[in-house]
């Protein structure tokens, strides 16, 4: 599970573990990438928008971009699929009026299952429960495709 929001991570950890799943929660895409290269996972549950990290950026790019929300969930699909994760869900709680990448999520609404490098992929607006993403529901939908 990769999500920069403490609230969503804590809810996911609590709820998914309650259903007997083993969960590793990460707060940044850099950390997630590293983890995915070193360990194997059955499924990945990803937030769409996360703050840009400094990585290789130069001084001006740091000023312009770091900390701004970017739609990193999309490239993460490719990266995690290449790492061999077979089921990947990208779920955002940002409305389609609020961010261009969230608006793009609408493109995939009602479409058939996506397959990337053999991995089944679900891109969706997140169902919510008690103010947090309902990760159990997201996982169930992912496993159902």
């Amino acid at each position: 599970m990769i999500d920069d929001s403490v609230r969503h991570r804590r809810a996911g950890m609590r709820d998914l573990r309650a259903f007997g799943h083993e969960v590793v929660a990460m707060s940044s895409y850099g950390e997630a990438r590293q983890k995915a290269h070193g360990e194997s996972f059955d499924a990945a549950l990803i937030d769409l928008l996360m703050p840009a990290e400094p990585t290789t950026l130069g001084i001006q790019a740091v000023v312009d971009h770091v900390g701004r929300d970017i739609g990193v969930g999309f490239p993460l699909i490719f990266e995690l699929a290449l790492c061999g994760i077979s089921r990947i869900a990208v779920a955002t709680d940002t409305g389609h009026h609020d961010h261009p990448d969230s608006a793009i999520v609408d493109w995939f609404k009602g479409r058939g299952p996506l397959v990337v490098n053999g991995a089944k992929v679900l891109i969706m607006h997140a169902p919510m429960r008690d103010g947090a993403k309902d990760w159990v529901e997201i996982l169930n939908r992912l496993l159902a495709i």
Binding site: V6, R7, R10, S27, S28, E53, I59, V62, V63, V66
Partner: protein, 319 residues
């Protein structure tokens, strides 16, 4: 005068004490001697002093052989006369050869270590007689406290990395001791009892490049009066620290992602870093503050803001 002095902190009556300290100042009830210390708890004594509305507090010391109290400025005179100490007249041009002996005014008397093993030496301002207080880096808090309790002219904290060839003193403007003193007195609530102040101590997490070996990390710890230094950003049970300090945007971002309530202080040490850190902080304006570790009138200086945050977290009763 009997050299046996009761230490208010450890309760020890130490006849064999090499050095005793006392803090004297006028309280509201007119008492003059506020606290005495055997020398092992000077920092604690200073905390108490700072948390109390004392007028013109002065720290004095007594050496075993002297058997009388000497104000700190006198102490500085005595010590400066004993060994060669490099004068610091122009900090921008000052250079010091690696290996030159610098006397630590705090630990010299305890003789626990004399070798220049540490990479952090600090000059804590000039006294009214134009002298300097030196510290090997292990006792920055005490040195700052001693400095703050004395009448100083243009105090500055500087450090030198003795591991470098042609080592040079660099200013840590953010540790301006005069500001430190002013803010401590103004911000620490005078009505708070010692017990209360202990129970609401904010927890600080410091993550700067190089870890605890970084002089800046030691300096930040030293000025984190009345706080507890935490080992983890988020402790067991999802308990977050109150204030996190870092000098890296990447680390600050991780801190933002991993906490909900922690106030994150992003400290920059160069103008080059300033723009990126300021822009980053503006994107998390309710969570992150970018402050200057290098001073300058147009910038928010680290220590005053840090102490203000500590005071806010202390009095806010959030813990």
């Amino acid at each position: 005068m009997d050299s046996t002095v009761h230490c208010d902190h450890c309760g020890d009556r130490r006849k064999d004490a090499i050095l005793m300290f006392q803090i004297v100042g006028e309280k509201e009830d007119g008492a003059s001697v506020f606290t005495r210390c055997c020398g092992e708890h000077v920092k604690n004594s200073l905390h108490i002093c700072l948390a109390t509305p004392l007028t013109d507090p002065v720290i004095s010391f007594m050496r075993k052989e002297d058997q009388h109290w000497i104000p700190l400025e006198g102490m500085a005179s005595v010590l400066l006369g004993k060994k060669e100490v490099v004068a610091l007249s122009d900090r921008s041009r000052f250079q010091m050869r690696v290996g030159v002996e610098v006397l630590c005014h705090v630990c010299e008397m305890s003789a626990t270590h004399t070798e220049a093993r540490f990479t952090f030496w600090v000059f804590v301002g000039g006294t009214s007689s134009g002298e300097w207080i030196h510290c090997c880096g292990r006792h920055i808090g005490e040195a700052l406290g001693l400095c703050a309790a004395t009448h100083l002219k243009n105090p500055r904290v500087m450090y030198m990395d003795l591991g470098q060839q042609d080592a040079r003193y660099a200013a840590l403007e953010h540790l301006n001791a005069a500001r430190l003193l002013a803010h401590c007195f103004r911000l620490v609530p005078s009505t708070q009892s010692r017990r209360e102040s202990v129970s609401t101590k904010p927890v600080i997490f410091i993550d700067v490049y190089g870890g605890q070996d970084n002089p800046a990390a030691r300096a930040i710890e030293a000025v984190a009066f009345d706080t507890r230094i935490g080992d983890h950003l988020v402790a067991e049970g999802d308990v977050e620290v109150d204030i996190a300090v870092t000098d890296s945007v990447a680390t600050a971002l991780r801190m933002v992602n991993e906490t909900e309530k922690t106030t994150i202080v992003l400290i920059y040490f160069s103008q080059q870093e300033k723009d990126g850190m300021t822009a980053f902080a503006s994107r998390f304006s309710n969570r992150v503050e970018a402050v200057s570790g290098i001073g300058g009138d147009d910038q928010i200086a680290f220590v005053p803001r840090f102490l203000q945050l500590i005071a806010e977290k202390t009095t806010g009763g959030e813990r």
